[in-house]
Amino acid sequence: MRSLNLWIIPLLPALGAAINGLLGKRFSKRMVNIVALGSTASAFAYALWVALQFRALETVPHIETYATWLRSGQFSVEYGFYLDQLSLVMLLVVTGVGFLIHVYSVAYMEHEGGYYRFFSYMNLFMFFMLTLVMANNYLLMFVGWEGVGLCSYLLIGFFFLRDSAANAGKKAFIVNRIGDFGFLIALFLLIKHFGTLQYNGVFEAVAGMPAETAGAGLLTAIGLLMFVGATGKSAQVPLYVWLPDAMEGPTPVSALIHAATMVTAGVYMVARSNAIFSRAPEALMVVAIIGCLTAIFAATIGLVQTDIKRVLAYSTVSQLGYMFLACGVAAYTAGVFHLMTHAFFKALLFLGAGSVIHALGGEQDMRRMGGLRKKIPYTFWVVTAGTIAIAGIPPLAGFVSKDEILWKTWQYSKVLWAIGAITAFLTSFYMFRLWFLTFFGERRGAEGAEHAGHGHSAPASGHGHHAGEPHESPMIMIVPLIILAILSIVGGWVGWPHALGGNNHFETFLSPVVGASAEMHGGAEHAPAHPASTAAAAEHEPAHGERSMELMLTLASVGIAALGFFLAYLFYYKNPALPKRMAEAAGGLYRTVLNKYYVDELYGALFVRPIVLGSTKILWRGIDATLIDGTINQSAEGAQEASDTLRRMQSGNIRSYAAWVTAGAACVIAYMVWRGLR
């Protein structure tokens, strides 16, 4: 088998990170740019080359093993990479979008301190993310998984002099730990029951097991624990709380890590482990329900947020919910498809928001924006493309992928579909709200926010000196935006559904990854409740009724998106006083949603405060200060007292020493005499 030398791809950004991290302080900005962009660009180019070679591969998945990493008895873990359709898609998304965001950052971060540090972290992130998606075993994936968490922490807290940024970084890291705990236990279960963590080993072992339709068993447990990890990393209910706060980081970080790549790691993991999940319908059901809940929950919070980046953050949480919903109904390809299109349009939206913030000199509050359409036309047009894409209006990318998810959900459960459809409406509404508030009407300036009271105003450092007339961003920021806008428009066409006369290349392309598992569980025929089998059956024989149904649903979702647009138009363009009146009318409900359902406060009261109190009162003052320190101090004091007594023997009087010696000798002699006499 021909080697593609896949190890080069993660190595390139790792080298970039090392060079910039170790030597960057002495480099000029130009040199830092060359290293950072050169490494990511070459990684992307190499990934493209790999993609071109992909068709010529004899065996898929193409596995390259470089060394044995761990060996312990029968158990061993290899250091190697795994290339199949799924990791290829992830590879291209990560390197491609990552490269564009690096280019954008060159101008965006120009006036910030720690320029080299920023790019070093970004490159390090790319390295870990590539390790995550290309690993050929769960342990190596876990290394990437933890590594991206570390980089996320470092980059959220990039402006570490600001307290809120440092705290947000810690929050992200700690909440992720909770999820990682579940993932780790899933890995232990895999080791215990299958004796391996290699993907092919695990999948082969799982392939021989029947679907756990009758009752939850080992696979359900593994699936659920893995999903606990995914809820942490991919910000799902109940562990989503860190992602909105993560917006404290620089905007390119939000785009790369907290929208396009890292947060989708959980979706990737579930799709990668589809062999396990497909045999655990109860775990899948939990995934679907949690995904659906997250989608609508975050969307409602997104409705009333006033910080432009926070709206996008909640939108990201909501869209991730969609991806899990897709995975939960065993439509893994739809989930990965949405992952890809979401990476395009959400990166675009974040970078566009960054461009707006840049133009306004660090202003993030939408109530003080407005009327920017003419001032920053390029930004306006690209954000428009992103907004339409995410709102789900054909023929843009978001429409295609979201529609496929909703269609697959319809086949699984009408209730989940209804929630998903409502979420689609909310998505359309809050995105057009953002669009209207930012670009239309009059510039509201500082007075706009005064009556609203609760405002999240986090001044982005470094941009302050731009204050004044809004100005368009430099070309180096606009070009990546335009490329992403084009991708947001055409990116969905690779998966154009059958019902609309397309042939869904994307699904066909990915089907070996997930199809393999669908046909592997041969026992599924006598398990009609199983979602994968029904979905698969529907794909193979697209009955006429099904097709018209799909068309109907497509029309419905387009109508829903249009309704969202119309309402936003009414509220925020036609009659800007209306939302305020409605907010007053809703009163308590409005305040609850504005305060994010008080979830942070709830977690604070339920978990954080008891832990902090328990730590200070019991662990610190009680166990550490009293018990451990007490024991040590007591024994030290005892030794001191004892030695103080013994010290008296060392009188310094020579004759007393001599007396001791004589007495000792006398004792020895007496003993020997006594022994001799006996």
Partner: protein, 100 residues
């Protein structure tokens, strides 16, 4: 022939005198002489046993002890002179700089 026990008793008495002198005297020179007395009491035991058993090693050992005692006397007296020069006393109770 004087029996062995006579020598041993004499030796024990000499050794006891040495110990007693060492313990109760304050003058360094006297203490030093007491040490010599103990050494010679031991020497007497050695030769007594050597004569009794008819072996030579006891005699040889006595010579060793004498040599070491001579060397020790040289060093010890030098120390005593040095002590006397600095502290102008030969009373051991006054030589207590290292005491707490």
């Amino acid at each position: 022939m004087v029996p062995l026990s006579y020598y041993l008793v004499l030796s024990a008495i000499l050794f006891g005198c040495g110990v007693l002198g060492f313990l109760i005297k304050r003058n360094i020179i006297t203490i030093f002489m007491s040490i010599e007395l103990m050494l010679n009491a031991v020497n007497l035991t050695f030769v007594a046993f050597a004569a009794h058993w008819g072996v030579l090693s006891g005699h040889i050992f006595v010579f060793f002890v004498m040599v070491v005692a001579a060397a020790e006397a040289a060093v010890g007296l030098a120390i005593i002179i040095a002590v006397f020069r600095t502290r102008e006393t030969l009373n051991v109770d006054r030589v207590n700089l290292l005491k707490l």
